[in-house]
Symmetry: C2
Subunit: 219 residues, 2 copies
DNA sequence: CCAAATCGTGCAGACACTCCAACTATAGAG
DNA sequence: CTCTATAGTTGGAGTGTCTGCACGATTTGG
């Protein structure tokens, strides 16, 4: 009566949902997101269009499916950090670990995935939404962990900065994957960029981009 | 034959465009973005639907019209900064100036404007896109001004951080406007938040959010 | 084995947006 | 001033996403 329905029906639902998502993703990658209609996905998955919109709120969700899991994982990383470790420190570790483990995987299997995103403004917009969700949850987590007063925007700013770094790294990795760069040097480059970002962040960026004293033919 | 068409026709175009945008914005604010169809805007502006989509690429552009100007202004601020002044410093000045001058204006005239955005996910998505554009241009500007090598992601990260601060401030101001807070205390609060953000940024945030050593019922 | 809740479906419809073939008003040439 | 090339405007038809609604099938609990 509450939430759990120990069902056999539930399995079919989950199964069906996954099947639809899989066939849709495959079609999108092969032919491009905008060039595949929901009706075609429905036909290929052997369900009706209405059923698809029953499982997924929008067409984009057929593609970005496991977004929620990724976002939730980050929260756990922070909550489970060692006593004495700072939030920035744990995220630096996480980002570096992701570069070592996750992103090469992304590059190996995901070049076509990324190309699909790049080819559709609808998917790019949806990706931005995902980052925004991640930022909101991160801000909440940071506010809890630092016991910040309700009106204080500091956690918001910190979260925005951290997600910005993450996003920049992901975009950089994506661009490398799209160019078909080799994995090893890309990993080195990303690690370096990540380190630089955190140095910038932790050490501060006072005086960054000081204007030179107009020497002759500037520009 | 090239680009400039010293027209009298051009005036009519600009005039027509502005007229359409004005009547559309008014309708959106009064009745909500999603509850006004493009056809209704066309009828009210006494043009055809096709004409509207000739002037504006999307329905959202009818609402966010002067987005480009705002973004371009920021670039000028940076390029015209005094010799010896850093980019972070000039943006801090600009943000504080915006709080003193621009945002109260926003709060006075714009509460309904903001409410309209808040009430439509399409408009919120479009707003995000605007921030992304701003970030891209800022990153480019920063890269030019610091003469950074092509592959170096530092300007990207710096731009992301600065836009993140800006966005947080704007969101905070928007929330205040929506709550109907008085202008003066809100300005004070925003100035404080802005200062804190830049202190965080310039001084660095090493050790932020250090985890306490698990004291009993830590919740 | 039956009743009831649930879920899939077909259908109709709203709406953003596009394409196309006319129509019209302007700009420049003679 | 007139004629013609050009470019903006228009209505209409069409595509595709997404939303209701009512009906039918299936699972669950008794």
């Amino acid at each position: 009566m509450t939430t759990e329905k120990s069902g056999l029906r539930e399995r079919k639902k989950a199964q069906s949902r996954l099947a639809i998502s899989n066939v849709a993703t495959k079609m999108f990658i092969e032919r491009g997101f905008d060039d595949v209609t929901v009706a075609e996905v429905a036909a290929a998955a052997d369900v009706s269009v209405a059923t698809i919109f029953n499982y997924f709120e929008t067409k984009e969700e057929l593609f970005f499916d496991r977004e929620g899991e990724v976002i939730a994982a980050q929260r756990r990383f922070i909550l489970e950090r060692k006593p004495g470790e700072s939030i920035t420190s744990v995220l630096r570790r996480e980002f570096l670990a992701a570069i070592d483990a996750g992103l090469p995987q992304l590059m190996a299997h995901g070049a076509s995935f990324l190309r699909t995103i790049e080819g559709s403004s609808a998917l790019r917009a949806r990706l931005r939404l995902g980052f925004e969700k991640a930022e909101a949850l991160l801000a909440e987590t940071v506010a809890e962990e630092t016991e910040t007063a309700a009106g204080d925007p500091t956690p918001q700013i910190v979260a925005a900065i951290l997600v910005a770094i993450q996003r920049t790294l992901i975009e950089s990795a994506g661009a490398a994957a799209l160019r078909g760069d080799a994995v090893a040097p890309t990993k080195r480059r990303l690690r370096k960029a990540c380190e630089r970002a955190f140095v910038l962040l932790e050490g501060g960026m006072r005086g960054y981009g000081k204007k030179k004293a107009a020497a002759g033919a500037g520009r």
